[in-house]
């Protein structure tokens, strides 16, 4: 064992545990292996190869590994003070990696090349690091590793000039987020003298200016990454500029990963007095603004972008609540929200990227492709939080958590804000079912991969609607 390594460990901690090193980061190892395999395959073959199969196997294996480790109740600390893995982190990874399967199917339906697959897997690696981080630096590293491939993914395939502009905006604002996060981390170091997550939680409880500043800056950086009002401006452009699979990835997995990482960061801690104001005001503002602006959108991706701003509001609300049950509520929400979004994306009528995006092209969809219309309808109702669809239970859990913390009025206001969103989802249903029957009904053949994604998502959504307990008990 390298003596230097031991010196770096602050406590008289044990030497590196090879077994923990292997198991704790097994999902990440598999992702890395997948990247390497795809890279080698790409290098050795003379013509562009379809990386779908290795990428899919990688993601399923990684998700399976996380699930398996979670079920065995594994927890390990490969790098003391830097990285540790517990059941919650593994469950979160299993959820997020599982959600990647439909994303890959959607990507394959459009076009999937090696760069795309490697960028996607790399970004997932970042999510994995974020969720098992034990120090702020590791967390920062994870977020950067998550974001950098994303900037490239937004321009990937460069369909339109707007894509470049969108990626640029995203890059600049993402850079601001990085800077804010670093500043917050520095202040934490100044306030507490340490960089571990425990130090951050000490700062959360602290009352001095430095601690408050540190905590607020870190939380704001997460808000920027998750696109909460007023840090949301990049999202609609980035979502619109990117291809549909990338939009789906950003709206579901990235957003969920960021929030779950913040939940991981808070862990048992509850928001102190100075954070409460921030965690009440901005999520509420996001719900109201996101839902209101979404009503006026004509493009599907922009609609999803604003709706995802509102949903980021609900997710951040959970941080206000009691720590008990917080992770379950957020993880369930991320899973349900991700699945329903992916379901909607998978059912969009076929056509050129730009045509698919227009809400108008959904008009009368029921008469062309009844199944797709019904599935999008289910997704919309679930996003609106209407029972019996699982979005309702997800919303219920979040607001129950907030109310249990004593914020009754805030929860009521939040519920009313969520009511604003109902109209926008109903509008999509109205377009699909209640518009004039189009004169020439061209059946739009959905691709096999997109159909598979839709079927998988729908099966999961139904299961979650009828047996939510299966997942809730497992989380």
């Amino acid at each position: 064992m390298n003596p230097e390594t031991i010196e770096m460990v602050p406590t008289s901690a044990p030497v590196l545990d090879a077994q923990a090193l292997f198991f704790a980061a097994l999902p990440e190892h598999l992702l890395l292996l997948g990247i390497v395999v795809i890279l080698i395959l790409d290098l050795v073959s003379s013509r562009p190869r379809d990386p779908f199969v290795p990428a899919l196997i990688t993601v399923i294996a990684a998700a399976g590994a996380a699930l398996w480790l979670h079920l065995t109740g594994y927890s390990g600390t490969p790098f003391p003070g830097q990285m540790s893995v517990g059941p919650d982190a593994l469950a979160a990874k299993a959820v997020l990696l599982g959600l990647t399967v439909p994303v890959l199917l959607l990507a394959r339906q459009e076009r999937l090349d090696s760069q795309f697959a490697m960028l996607l897997l790399g970004s997932l690696y970042g999510i994995g690091l974020m969720l098992s981080a034990d120090s702020l630096l590791m967390l920062f590293f994870g977020i950067e590793l998550l974001s950098l491939p994303l900037y490239a993914l937004v321009v990937h395939g460069l369909r339109r000039p707007e894509s470049a502009e969108a990626a640029m905006k995203y890059l600049v604002l993402g850079g601001v987020g990085t800077a804010v996060l670093l500043m917050g981390i520095s202040l934490t170091l100044g306030a507490t003298g340490g960089l571990s997550l425990d130090d951050f939680r000490i700062a959360m409880a602290g009352d001095d200016f430095l601690s408050r500043g540190a905590v607020v800056l870190v939380v704001v950086a997460f808000m920027l990454k998750a696109a909460l009002v007023p840090f949301h401006a990049w999202a609609p452009d980035a979502y619109e500029g990117a291809g549909i699979p990338v939009t789906a990835y950003m709206a579901t997995i990235v957003k969920g990963g960021v929030v779950l990482a913040l939940v991981h960061l808070f862990n048992g801690a509850e928001a102190g007095v100075h954070l409460v104001g921030l965690l009440i005001a901005l999520p509420l503002l996001s719900m109201v603004w996101g839902n209101l602006v979404a009503m006026r959108q004509q493009g599907f991706r922009r609609l999803i972008a604003y709706s995802s701003i509102a949903h980021a509001g609900y997710l951040f609300f959970a941080l206000l609540g009691v720590s008990e049950g917080r992770f379950e509520a957020v993880a369930f929400y991320v899973l349900v929200y991700g699945l329903t979004n992916l379901l909607a994306f998978a059912c969009l009528p076929a056509g050129s990227d730009w045509v698919r995006d227009r809400l108008d092209s959904l008009k009368g969809l029921y008469y062309r492709d009844p199944l797709a219309a019904i599935l999008i309808g289910v997704a919309m109702l679930s996003l609106a939080g209407i029972p019996p669809f699982p979005g309702f239970i997800a919303k219920f859990l979040i607001f129950q958590n907030v109310m249990a913390a004593g914020f009754v009025t805030v929860a009521v206001v939040g519920l009313v804000a969520s009511y604003l969103g109902i109209y926008l989802y109903l509008r999509v249903i109205q377009y699909m079912f209640m518009s004039q029957k189009p004169e020439h009904t061209v059946p739009s053949p959905a691709g096999a991969y997109a159909t598979t994604a839709a079927v998988l998502s729908m099966a999961a959504v139904l299961t979650l609607a009828i047996f939510p307990n299966w997942i809730l008990a497992w989380l």
């Binding site: 209407i386 129950q400 109310m403 249990a404 969520s418 109903l426 209640m434 307990n469």
Partner: protein
């Protein structure tokens, strides 16, 4: 045991029906109608059997099923029959086949989706009545909006999108505040007993402070009052009724509106008795305003559907009046009035639909003298009119008479103690009966009598299918009017328990 199985079967039959419909090709409209009809008839048979097996004079639930659904949240799949929901389940099951039969001609496109939606709404409505767990109740209550939204929005009239969005958004606003109250109650139970639960019985046992009760009652009452609807929250109803297809109107008037009054009697009032007693003057006034104002509006409409829609506002005002009288007769009357209104308003909407199918107009001014032209139609229409007015021997009489009797019985001792408003309000409510006669007879006179006039040249009288539908309905109206005792026996114990719950604390002390 077999009864609880039958009750579950009754609830889930429409789901089975929906799955069966998926297998039928969309072009085979006749098969789709046949399957739906068969499923709903079996459901009706089960409902009748359960009604007959239901024991009178026993408190609490019968034919109960209770299984854990989401144990972490304390949510159970918990259903059962009691005196409050017994008649409503029977009503919903009775109207189901009539809705399908009534839609044979009027629904000619997307037949498969329509029948799937009828199955869906039948499932959610009966589920709402049967649920004995607040979470489950809320799921059914809210899910019911989805099929109704589509039924009005797809098969409705020219302003259907406006009407259906208004319907959905109005009712969803009430529900969202109710959801807040549901969540609050859930964790109050957790705080009180240490384990989460949404079971009605656990919620009844909560001892909430008056202030909390008032807030929660407000949240529940808003949701229920929108659904009833009570003035001034009724404005969605005329739009929804006018734009809805006949089947939608029948479901809406027949069963859906009762979910509001059922919500009050099952949940809103008994969960928060102290707040309710405090609000009684207010609730009673609103009920009487609904009776008079609804009748007044019905009197000046020229759209036939609107007349019946506003008459619903008026008739459900009686239900509310009976419920807040806390008198056995009044509560019993309210329960009968709910069923009676379901039959009468449902029947009237069916009849309006029949004439609309022939003439494509709902404008009262366009019609006249149908008695000469369509004798059979006119006979049925007159019977329904008289039932709506509340003529003795019809169900309308039983309901309204008992409600008014109950209101007066409850008001008189109060008057002797020097509290005069209940008596004054009860007296005003009688005015509603007079107004009811006025607007219904105005409708019948202008539609059936006078110079013969129709919007189209040739109008045929009722065919066999239509006669059959109306005969069934009229028979039910007379059964309820002539033999109310049979039904009253079954509900009596539940009405007593409700009265007990409202007027006395669990320790037996008077609340007031």
């Amino acid at each position: 045991m077999s009864e609880s199985l039958a009750l579950n079967a009754l609830l889930f039959l429409p789901v089975l029906g929906g799955i069966l419909l998926l297998l039928v090709p969309a072009q085979r409209a006749d098969v789709i109608r046949g399957v739906s009809m068969l499923v709903l008839l079996v459901q009706l048979a089960l409902a009748v059997w359960l009604y007959l097996r239901f024991q009178s004079g026993v408190s609490g639930l019968q034919f109960e099923t209770r299984l854990p659904w989401i144990p972490g949240l304390g949510v159970h799949y918990h259903i059962g029959l009691d005196g409050l929901n017994l008649l409503l389940v029977l009503l919903a099951a009775f109207l189901g086949p009539l809705v399908v039969a009534g839609a044979v001609k009027s629904i000619d496109r997307d037949v498969k989706l329509f029948h799937a939606m009828v199955m869906f709404i039948q499932f959610t409505m009966i589920g709402t009545f049967l649920a004995q767990d607040l979470f489950l109740f809320y799921v059914f209550w809210e899910a019911m909006l989805i099929p109704m939204f589509l039924i009005i929005g797809i098969w409705g009239g020219e302003r259907r999108i406006y009407a259906t969005l208004k319907f959905f958004l109005y009712t969803a606003f009430g529900s969202i505040l109710m959801l807040a109250a549901v969540i609050y109650l859930g964790y109050t139970v957790l705080g009180a007993t240490g384990s989460p639960s949404f079971a009605f019985t656990d919620l009844y046992a909560l001892e909430l402070g008056l202030e909390v009760q008032i807030w929660l009652l407000l949240a529940f009452a808003l949701s229920f009052a929108i659904k009833v609807p009570m003035v001034p929250l009724h404005t969605w109803l005329p739009d929804a009724h006018v734009q809805a297809p006949t089947a939608g109107s029948v479901i809406l008037a027949g069963v859906l509106l009762k979910m509001g009054t059922y919500g009050f009697v099952k949940l809103g009032f008994p969960l928060f008795p102290d707040a309710t007693l405090l609000a009684t003057p207010f609730l009673m006034t609103l009920a009487v305003i609904s009776i008079i104002y609804g009748a007044g509006l019905a009197l000046v409409q020229d759209d036939i559907k609107k007349i019946i829609a506003y008459s619903s506002v008026s008739h459900l005002g009686y239900v509310m009046l009976g419920l807040v009288s806390y008198n056995l007769l009044g509560v019993q009357g309210a329960l009968i009035q709910m069923v009676s209104h379901g039959l009468v308003a449902g029947g009237l909407f069916l009849m309006v639909g029949m004439i609309y199918e022939r003439c494509h107009s709902r404008d009262l001014a366009a019609y006249g003298g149908l008695a000469k032209l369509l004798p059979v139609y006119s006979v049925f229409f007159l019977i329904l009119t008289l039932a709506a007015i509340g003529l003795p021997t019809t169900s309308g009489f039983t309901g309204e008479f008992l409600v008014l009797l109950g209101a007066f019985t409850a008001a008189w001792p109060l008057y002797e103690q020097g509290v005069g408003y209940p008596l004054a309000l009860a007296a005003l409510a009688v005015l509603g009966v007079v107004l009811g006669a006025l607007y219904m007879l105005r409708l019948a006179r202008r539609l059936l009598f006078g110079a013969v006039q129709t919007p189209v040249a040739v109008v045929s009288d009722l065919d066999l299918r239509e006669k059959l539908i109306l005969t069934t309905l009229v028979a039910a109206i007379f059964v309820l009017g002539l033999f109310p005792n049979h039904f009253l026996q079954k509900t009596e114990q539940a009405a007593r328990d409700y009265q007990e719950q409202m007027l006395y604390t669990p320790d037996g002390e008077a609340r007031r």
